[in-house]
Symmetry: C2
Subunit: 481 residues, 2 copies
Amino acid sequence: MSADVGNSVGHRQASLSATLGNDIVLVDPEEMLRFCRDWHGDVTSGAIAVLRPRSTQDVCAAVKLCRELGISIVPQGGNTGLVLGGIPDQPDAQVILSLERLNSVRRIDADDFSAVVEAGCVLSELKDRIAEKGMFFPLALGAQGSCRIGGNVATNAGGINVLRYGMTRELVLGLEVVLPDGTVFNGLSTLRKDNRGIDLKQLFIGSEGTLGIITAVSLKLTPLPDQIATALLGLNSLNDVMSLYRRARRQCCDLMSAFEFMPPLAFTLAKEAIPDLPIPMAADYPAYVLMEISGSGLIDISDLMQRFLAGVMEDGLVVDGVIAASEAQTRNLWKIREGMNEGQAKRGQHMRTDISVPLSRLADFVEDAEKAVSEALPTCVSVSYGHVGDGNVHLNVLPPQGSSKEEAAAMIYQAKTVVNGVVDRFSGSISAEHGIGRLKRADFEERLEPAHRHLLAALKRAIDPSMVMNPGCQLNFPDRS
Amino acid sequence: MSADVGNSVGHRQASLSATLGNDIVLVDPEEMLRFCRDWHGDVTSGAIAVLRPRSTQDVCAAVKLCRELGISIVPQGGNTGLVLGGIPDQPDAQVILSLERLNSVRRIDADDFSAVVEAGCVLSELKDRIAEKGMFFPLALGAQGSCRIGGNVATNAGGINVLRYGMTRELVLGLEVVLPDGTVFNGLSTLRKDNRGIDLKQLFIGSEGTLGIITAVSLKLTPLPDQIATALLGLNSLNDVMSLYRRARRQCCDLMSAFEFMPPLAFTLAKEAIPDLPIPMAADYPAYVLMEISGSGLIDISDLMQRFLAGVMEDGLVVDGVIAASEAQTRNLWKIREGMNEGQAKRGQHMRTDISVPLSRLADFVEDAEKAVSEALPTCVSVSYGHVGDGNVHLNVLPPQGSSKEEAAAMIYQAKTVVNGVVDRFSGSISAEHGIGRLKRADFEERLEPAHRHLLAALKRAIDPSMVMNPGCQLNFPDRS
């Protein structure tokens, strides 16, 4: 009996608090709630406790104690993930370890084109601090006001600037990681080139907390672009969008920083979310592109955009277009993109996807997948948009308005099966940028080749033999050895 | 006795030939010589055999057979490595597995901005094939006429365009790898974004053949730059070179594709190698920069270079400069850079290094390191040059002409100790781009932190528990488990 009591949640909470202190250990359900509920509010879980360390040493102590107590750890950054990677699935066996208090900017060095920051820094605040020094950190995504850099690295976040600057992986120079045994891997160098053996930091980038806890990051910076030109363009087809992208890559050199496609429905959805949003163009073209060129220094970016558009309009590739003439107009154009997402949310429960396919097959994929959805679910509406340069499509499916919760859930389940089937035919990915977490684990495991699974399991056993780190995320590994 | 005979080199050669065939297995010492001698000709080793598979399936068969026979495998691409990663150090226990016959271009797809190629493709030939389709593969290094893409990936090769396009790692979309158990990891996708769990290909990039054999690669392509502007500039100091770099990054946007610094001695050395090489500038400035801006499309690259140089010359940051007015002149400017290397080789045995330091400390590092060398070895000459944007310095030390082989070797050994000490003080890397191989293993191991070593050993045991793959390269791991 005493062993059972000794292993109860209450007992483990007491052990955590006694050793780590009440400042670090939250056990009150009210206080824990915001850590236990996911970004969309779809899932609310629980945890033995939420640990809020203030330093790397605190994280080490927490990891060592959890190992002793037989508790596993779900690391969490800004809790903005979309695949439940930071939400416990075994509330009685897991703690959440929040990095939000490790939020110091250790160094921003414009001469070194680098910054060294702690995992809990909020992305947009970090970008602002870096901009004050005339530098730029290119990662840009919808959640940037809440997400934290450690989570961005752990999930290898994407976003709208990937086409020019790469995924988060390509923006990381170094990492500090607390390993599953509670020791620290010190890899916080700012060297641009370092070929001393296998690059261990790559393992942790995108591992979603399954191999260790990222506590600090060295980032690659670029000069702050002081000129930005943004245009909204109307085109006759998604095939024309792809032709425009290829031409833009060539003609605008490598200075294009965003190239998003949207369907005409984007305007309707954006208006539903933001009724007074000005829409500067007719909504009757089959496809739209939001395009941004940016740069610093001696190149006239606005002139480049104008000359590019003059050519493609003369050739009929672009039918209609507006270039933002002010910062306010630029913000409004981006609000269409953002409002489109909010409008979908307002229509209620719907299927969200995060697909990538080879760039050359994007238009065909969207056509095939939307057709498959409309055949299987004629009352649903498909909304496809995304980051053309990355072959990344968010093909979402909205059940008809007025559907019951159960009806919507059934349609979403069916839509997912239909779309994933098309993704497989196109050799695409079911997670281009959001990760696997717990939400996509089954779909991921189902598609894993044996050699791939074998390597992942071998890696996990090698680095986290006690299976302390984020069990249930990405893969269901065998129990601890 | 029979056990000994059964395990003799001759017996194992016979077993290899019998199973894999004489077409694939070379055992004649003459024929094996070019595979067993390193690029600089410093080291000539041997091997049980050289295996030359023609397909991925052949590689699988070879790996399985070697495991059975208790033979370990040293993979080799173009044999242009500079750190002996592809040269056996246990000739009686190792085979060389050459990838040179796996040299098909499986696909070049301009619309997909990608290519899928086999490991044995020669880099320059590949670049030419890709250019024929109007596309560009940016990896560029001295050995490109001989090195092969599989080796470039296995060593994460750097080169002169890294500042704009990144190391080889950033140019790879996917890999096909034969694992140490003879199975195949199929990761040859061309997706630009794919966040399905841990990115396994990152493990093999830069692993120098210690975890598996790369048999094919998917590459990221960009539009072929159709405008290139190249300039040779004279400056008053290395500090001015660093200021110029920072200004160029900002003012030339991200369009700078090379920024190399050289000392005045570069001209002398280049002339020693190529006596009729035209040198278009006086050799009496303390520092030189070879700078390239490139791009495609609507930006006037030559005008950009001219406006940039006008500004920096007006401000006195650049004292003298020439812009190449023809392709022939461009080639001649690059010949100074290449001739400088050949000139060093002509002066005989010397110390070559491949150092990186934080970008902001490059000028201080060169000053300190050259001073330390001249104090310790006053008769030697230091030549520092390299890739400024990457913080990558090749600080070489030339013993005085007429030194005996033994004298030169002693001075080289001492110079290395002195320079490595300065590298450590600057938190630099002793291998920025060449890798560790066997040449730098001891220096690498000496500097490894325990957590780092522990992770590397755990990884090796996880993926290559039988220690079949390139033992002796990067680290001396414990014997096979």
